[in-house]
Amino acid sequence: MSDIIAPTKQAAVEAASVETVALMDQLAGTDIRAESPLYHADLATVAKQGPKAGGVTLQEHKLLGHLVIRGSQDNAGFLAGARAVLGFDLPTQPLTAAEDGTLSVRWIAPDEWLVILPGREAFELENRLREAMSGHVAIVNVSGGQTVLELSGPNARAVLKKSTPYDVHDRNFPVGKVVTTVFAKSQAVIRRTGEQNWELVIRRSFADYLWLWLQDASAEFGLVIKD
């Protein structure tokens, strides 16, 4: 590992941010054990030994790359840079998301987006975005701090209704919408990814509490764990 990445580019004004932030590839080699926030729950074993049918299915999409991107919608160099790297526009409409293959982007706030992609691709994307974007921007790797849960099945919505005061009815929460809201006594970024599929981005330190909560809330419908 190197020290702080030194300013390698020769002072292009629009690339100023690259020279002034500490970029760090935080991933270790694949021989090093990485534990997702729900590692201790051993979902793989639960999936093998647990029920195979039920009204709710839960799956952890673990060890993905999570990047927070900050920038102003008034900054053309920011938006253009994002488009150039992502191949599509950042979703600037509130509460919308965009995705392409394994990369997805969620609107979080007018100046904040959450990108999720395969873990091993995060550092490269961060570099490319920083190269391409100009002006006042920030990119923060939060991959270790959160995880993605997918809740699906015919009773997934009923579990959500017990867990969040947000209106999850079709008329208010169509496929593709994303909201950050209260979830039990914690919070989650919820995205509807299909008719019966919901993605929850949750924080690491709350993961065990939410795992307990979801087991409890799903119990009456039958909970299936998918590995």
Binding site: M24, L27, I32, E35, I139, V142, Y209
Partner: protein, 1007 residues
């Protein structure tokens, strides 16, 4: 045992399904479809409780939520006890066990009754007001006595075996009440495609249609109900909630509904099922179709068992096939109540007389009574009831036209049941919950909902509309209006309502209180509020004593208190007060109701937020290891942090001594992952830091860390931490564990509202990094075995940070110290936290690497005089008070947050309370935290206190106790002695000293 009052046919009970239940230890039969109340009446049980103050026997008087007397304790086992269950609302199930809650030792033979009779003045009106004001010390005595007397029931002492939960809903229309108005509204709304929730507190939808004799489309009204309910069930956007009481109507159309899912099935919910559920509803539009409660009349001894509401008599006959007596006298001010006498007569029992307070009643129901040959005594009232445990007769007398004086001689009639009706009181409770004041209407003779800011529509009885045709029309109109307001206007047109009978009704008389031959104060007790034993005489006494405001009368008499909340009594009470004050009811005041409409169980309030889910527990990435290694945990905010790691049979002090010594002598390790961490990027990050911290940040080079204090605008410290310069425009801030969210919001507040021109972004990375601190003289040796970093003391100095691999994982290592020892704080992406932690232990065995928790951390830092924000600060201390002027810059160009505050006159006094070290005269004695310093322990109480001890421990490394605390003018009193007098009589003597007890030059952390 036979059900002596049960009719052979009719009603909505299922005679094929016989049930048994126990009341006060005796077994009784009933049928499916019964409530406990209807089953008790079927069996001829007259007494269901004893009254609160006078201990008078009381019977069932109503058939719904307004029942004030039949409040039972239900439950067959200790674990399933539920207090305050209304017999009129509890469906009967086989094996139900219940008992009267009041009555001591039991309701039938009540020793308290003698107290009531002998010492009837023991609890006069104003009892609460006068007695409980003082002396306060006697409250506990009163409380026990009153609780027992008042029949408040008791909760279980065991764990509730049932599951309760909560569900959130959003809808276009929330319709409260599934009587004729609610059903009509629901039908309109359902057909519009709107999202509708229809809730009703009863087990069946239909409300008054379930017991009316009126027809719809020429068929029994209940058939129309069945058709409508069947259709509603077909609409996918309609949620039907029977057995669900809408208990609260809160701001912005938020409602809470208490659904009793399985209370009708048994003592305990069937396996896997939720017993009760709280629905939290956000509604675009609300339709209140809550109907009306019949208002009883106030007359002498009107509480003797056998006195009932007229409408309740009809309900018991028509819905439950129960006639609650043999011989009826009906007293009424209106046409509608005649139905009770008609039903009674048609059930084959004797109607002794209909006593109508009006001089010349006319209407279809009066004609029907006449055609049956029933005796109608017009222009008269029942002035008094005879009997004690059951009505045996009544005294009636002619009234004048106004109904406020007797106009002839008294006549006695023999009977066992007295039904009375003073008309209807609209159920306006929910409309009041959001602060709307109800309005009196003379034509309704009652209060109706007043102006409101809620998106609320009312229909039917709640508006004082009682004719079935009009009620249906109002319901449909309210439903359509609500649909239109919710954006479903077009779809809401054209539903055809069923044809209702035309019933000619005469005008009702506004009469509440029947005069007696004696003045009210001398007449037999005329009850206004049964549950709180408030009489007309009591209210008159209150007004005589000067309590003219109805709010004061209420508090003086306790009218409208308890689980009843004045459903039956409030209007009559106001009428009595108004008459006594010689003014109108609207002049006297109005009646307002607060949530909840009826009592809600704690289970439903708590939902699933109990047991392991009671609160959030946050865990670090290394938590599993801590558990496996025997850590005891301390709650820090929502975090579970290792407190200490006892080994073998160690006491806490032994474990702390071992952990402290191992760290200072070799190396210890702390899980510091819970510290708040904020990533700060942007070209103005440095300027921003300078504005929110009290010290200088302009020149902090890349690769360096700095400690900072954060103050409020008042100059008081509220958080602290180390912030590191990762790159010129990139910083990592740490906060206290408990302060993380608050600090981030603080930074955002100033950025978004004061200095939006500064180019900076803040992101929480608390959960992203796992943080472990190795501390002690062997920390470098240990780390060197696992890293490629150059750890040379001159290249990686104290307060430097470096990036490199640790145990094969990319890491940022910060050479900062909270123990005063050589320390490295290792940060890796949290997914690798446990891997690195375990690798450190693999290599650490030879150095006796010792895990320590928050308690040892506290001791080690206290030895060094390092503060903990929140423990050694309390929002009233400046950095100067803490002796940390080295951390305050007065030369920064921008007037940073806290600077001006610190310069206020009071903050620059030299004799403020200062944080100092405290060395006890006896080195083994540890001063309790919170102890107050005084100069002279012999001074009289109250002593002049100088400040309190904030941190105090025994230091195994130093062999004596160490403490920090505030002492007035302490910085100028070094070496002087102060005393700590304790509650147990001991006085601890301590010397004021520098708080840095160990290594004052800081050599250990610089090695």
């Amino acid at each position: 045992m036979s059900q002596k009052n049960r009719l052979a046919s009719g009603g909505r009970v299922d005679r094929a399904k016989a049930l048994n239940f126990s009341y006060n230890g005796r077994q009784y039969p009933g049928f499916e479809g019964d409530t406990v109340a209807s089953a008790l009446l079927a069996n001829g049980v007259d007494i269901v409780g004893r009254s609160f103050k006078y201990s008078r026997p009381r019977g069932i008087i109503a058939a719904g939520a307004e029942e004030p007397n039949a409040v039972l304790q239900v439950g067959s086992t200790e674990a399933t006890q539920v207090p305050n269950v209304r017999a009129t609302q509890q469906s009967l199930f086989n094996g139900l066990v219940c008992s009267a809650t009041n009555g001591w030792p039991n309701a039938d033979l009540d020793l308290m009754g003698y107290v009531g009779k002998v010492g009837g003045r023991m609890m006069p009106p104003g009892f609460y007001y006068k007695t409980f004001m003082y002396p306060q010390s006697l409250w506990e005595t009163y409380e026990k006595f009153i609780r027992k007397a008042a029949g408040l029931g008791r909760s279980s002492t065991e764990r509730d075996p049932d599951m309760y939960d909560k569900v959130n809903h959003h809808c276009d229309l929330m319709i409260v009440g599934a009587g004729p108005a609610g059903l009509a509204a629901a039908l309109v709304a359902a057909r519009s495609g709107a999202r509708v929730i229809l809730a009703d507190e009863q087990s069946e939808f239909g409300g008054s249609l379930l017991d009316t004799r009126e027809t719809l489309n020429g068929r029994p009204a209940a058939e129309w109900v069945a058709t409508v309910v069947a259709e509603l069930k077909q609409h996918p956007e309609v949620l039907l909630l029977p057995r669900s009481t809408v208990n609260g109507y809160h701001d912005h159309n938020f409602l809470t509904i208490h659904e009793r899912c399985t209370d009708h099935l048994g003592d305990q919910a069937p396996a896997g099922q939720v017993r009760q559920r709280m629905h939290r509803v956000r509604a675009n539009q609300v339709v209140l179709a809550t109907g009306a409660h019949e208002r009883p009349l106030v007359f002498g001894n009107n509480d003797v068992p056998g006195c009932m509401q007229a409408a309740a008599v009809s309900t018991y006959i028509n819905r439950y096939a129960v006639v609650p007596g043999k011989e009826l006298v009906l007293m009424t001010t209106n046409d509608h109540a005649y139905q009770a006498a008609l039903d009674w007569h048609d059930a084959g029992r004797k109607v002794v007389a209909i006593v109508d307070t009006r001089q010349n009643p006319k209407g279809d129901r009066i004609d029907a009574a006449r055609s049956r040959g029933l005796k109608i005594i017009a222009g008269s009232g029942v002035i008094e009831v005879q009997g004690s445990k059951r009505v045996t007769g009544v005294s009636i007398a002619p009234l004048n036209a106004a109904g406020d004086a007797l106009a002839g001689s008294v006549e006695r009639l023999s009977c066992d049941t007295v039904a009375s009706s003073g008309g209807w009181s609209p159920v306006i409770h929910l409309s009041c919950h959001t602060g709307s004041r109800p309005e009196w209407r003379d034509d309704v003779i009652g209060f109706v909902p007043g102006k409101t800011v809620q998106k609320q529509h009312c229909a039917g009885g709640i508006n004082g509309t009682y004719g079935l045709k009009a009620v249906l029309e109002e319901g449909a109109r309210a439903g359509a209006a609500a649909c239109e307001a919710a954006g479903f206007g077009d779809a809401a047109k054209g539903i055809s309502l069923p044809l209702a009978e035309k019933v000619r009704e005469g005008k009702a008389m506004a009469l509440f209180h029947i005069p007696h031959t004696k003045p009210t104060s001398r007449a037999p007790k005329q009850f206004v509020d049964y549950q709180n034993d408030v009489t007309a005489a009591g209210i008159e006494l209150a007004t005589r004593e000067g309590f003219e405001s109805i709010e004061h009368v209420k508090r003086y008499t306790a009218m409208g208190f308890g689980t009843d909340q004045g459903k039956l009594g409030n209007i009559n009470g106001m009428a009595v007060a108004a008459k006594s004050l010689n003014q109108t009811i609207p002049q006297t005041g109005t009646t307002i109701f607060r949530p909840n409409y009826t009592p809600v169980t704690f289970g439903a309030v708590a939902g699933r937020d109990c047991g392991a889910l009671f609160d959030v527990n946050r865990f670090s990435a290394m938590h599993k290891w801590h558990v496996a290694n025997g850590a005891l945990f301390e709650d820090v905010g929502q975090w579970k942090r290792p407190w200490y790691f006892p080994q073998g049979g160690e006491t806490m002090q032994q474990a702390l001594d071992r952990e402290c010594k191992a760290t200072r002598e070799s190396v210890g390790i702390l899980d510091a992952s819970t510290l708040g961490k904020i990533d700060i990027q942007g070209k103005d990050a440095r300027e921003f830091l300078a504005r929110v911290y009290t010290n200088a940040w302009a020149k902090l080079p890349v690769g360096k860390c700095r400690y900072g204090l954060m103050c409020g605008e008042d100059g008081m410290v509220f958080d602290d931490g180390v912030t590191s310069c990762l790159a010129d425009n990139h910083f990592l801030m740490t906060t206290t564990t408990g302060g993380a969210a608050r600090v981030l919001e603080w930074l955002e507040l100033y950025h978004q509202t004061e200095w939006p021109e500064l180019e900076v972004y803040f992101s929480s990375v608390t959960d992203h990094w796992a943080t472990m601190t190795i501390s002690g003289p062997n920390a470098r040796k240990l780390l060197s075995e696992l890293t490629d970093l150059d750890l040379d003391r001159d290249t990686f100095k104290f307060m430097d940070w470096r990036q490199g691999d640790v145990a094969g994982v990319p890491a940022r290592v910060f050479r900062i110290s909270f123990t005063g020892e050589l320390s490295y704080e290792i940060n890796v992406q949290a997914n690798y936290g446990l891997h690195v932690w375990e690798k450190l232990f693999e290599h650490g065995a030879k150095y006796n690497l010792t895990p320590y928790g928050t308690e040892t951390m506290h001791v080690l830092r206290a030895e060094k005089g390092f503060i903990i924000a929140g423990q050694d600060t309390d929002g009233s201390v400046t950095p100067i008070d803490l002796g940390m002027s080295w951390c305050v810059s007065n030369t920064k160009p921008f007037s940073y947050i806290g600077k001006r505050g610190m310069a206020r006159e009071d903050c620059v006094r030299t004799d403020r309370k200062h944080l100092v070290g405290l060395k006890t005269r006896d080195p083994k004695v540890v001063i309790p935290e919170g102890a107050q310093a005084v100069n002279d322990p012999k001074q009289p109480i109250p002593m002049t206190m100088l400040g309190h001890v904030t941190s105090s421990y025994y230091s195994a490394n130093l062999g004596h106790s160490v403490a920090m605390g505030f002492v007035r003018n302490g910085h100028n009193r070094m070496g002087e002695t102060v005393f700590y007098p304790l509650a147990d009589g001991r006085v601890i003597e301590a010397e004021i000293c520098n708080p840095v007890f160990l290594d004052p030059k800081g050599e250990r952390q610089n090695v």
